[in-house]
């Protein structure tokens, strides 16, 4: 078996723009799910609304494409009703951190046994490029035409502070690492959160000097600071580079969890 067997081949090609990173993240997530040896009847994919949230519609298993921001609320319901099901959530930065922010912190606090993959393109892709809670400072969007003036959320720190058992961040460039991180998340009982930074050439790249798709992917690659390297810099008392973000496994612990398969 390979990840291709989890796709609804009759629905492909999907509607994402050329070069959109969402497809890559779905590949990596499905590869991880495939390597778990789970049955399709025992696995459910849940999402909210957004480009990223269209993902479950392309997957063969049962799925829920719910309302904007409520993916985690619906997923919690699935898990509470049927703890034996494996629940995987696809969400976007707007879906998870803006309208769904409260569901996010409480799902982390409850530490419900599910794996959440957030495709963070740092913008509202589907509705035409409005700024989201993760739009970086100075970046242009249709609602921040002079550059974003608000500091963004660090979703991974948020998940860690709120109580998630597993937290990791990678990008659409790091496909193998991302696959491994999702697998580790699927294996961890409790709430697992994997943030995947992705390129959105249509709404974000076009406005922010990433003319070619690869320019943005290259940026993601060169601005990733490995967690081990960050720890070393901190140990040596050196300053962290300001324009970089940390990638790697950021939290792994064993807090009491809800909805774990008995």
């Amino acid at each position: 078996m390979s990840f291709e067997d989890w796709y609804r081949q009759d629905r492909l090609p999907h509607i994402y723009c050329a070069g959109c990173g969402n497809g890559t993240i779905i590949n990596c997530t499905l590869a991880a799910v495939d390597s778990m040896g789970w049955k399709k009847e025992e696995t459910v994919f849940v999402s909210g609304i957004g480009c990223s949230s269209r993902a479950p519609g392309y997957i063969l298993t049962d799925s829920l494409h719910t309302t904007h921001g409520r993916a985690l609320a619906f997923a919690t319901g699935v898990k509470m009703a049927k703890p034996d099901l494996h629940v995987v959530v696809f969400t976007g930065d707007g879906d998870l951190a803006a309208i769904g922010g409260n569901h996010f912190i409480h799902a982390c606090r409850r530490n419900i046994d599910m794996t959440v993959v957030c495709m963070n393109n740092q913008i509202y892709g589907m509705t035409g490029g409005q700024g989201s809670p993760t739009t970086p400072l100075k970046c242009l969007s249709s609602t921040t035409p002079y550059g974003c003036a608000e500091p963004p959320f660090d979703l991974c720190e948020l998940a860690t502070a709120a109580g998630a058992n597993y937290v990791a961040r990678w990008t659409s460039y790091h496909v193998k690492e991302l696959e491994k991180a999702v697998k580790a998340g699927l294996e961890t009982p409790g709430f697992s959160f994997i943030e995947a930074l992705v390129q959105c050439p249509t709404a974000f790249g076009r406005r922010n000097k990433f003319r070619q798709v690869m320019d943005h992917v290259e940026f993601l690659k060169t601005h990733s600071l490995l967690r081990a390297k960050r720890d070393r810099l901190l140990e040596q008392g050196q300053p962290l580079p300001e324009d970089m973000f940390v990638v790697g496994e950021l939290t792994k612990r064993n807090r009491p969890a809800m909805g774990v398969k008995r």
Binding site: P13, C17, A18, G19, G23, N27, M214
Partner: protein, 90 residues
């Protein structure tokens, strides 16, 4: 194993041209029926997965396939090589 791009799916983003360690994918120049310049394959028999998948019995490398956002890259089984008798016609 033979590497192939599904022309009905590829959207010509050229991400594959950047991630393959052997640089097997090259930016396409000709537009196809859908108006997409599908990348060309440069000596695809060099691909790790093409060469060694059957020997190891599992997927090798596969970075291009995981990266391709449009699920357009795949491998096709090939008939094992058979030597042919050369018929000489006078």
């Amino acid at each position: 194993m033979k590497l192939a791009i599904d022309e009905t799916r590829c959207k010509g983003c050229n991400l594959c041209t950047k991630v393959c360690p052997y640089k097997i994918f090259r930016e396409g120049k000709k537009l196809n029926r859908k108006g997409v310049a599908v990348p060309e394959l440069d000596r695809p028999e060099r691909c790790t997965n093409c060469r060694l998948r059957n020997l190891y019995g599992r997927q090798l490398c596969g970075v291009c396939q995981l990266t391709c956002p449009d699920q357009a890259i795949h491998w096709i089984e090939e008939e094992p090589y058979e030597p042919h008798k050369v018929a000489i016609e006078y």
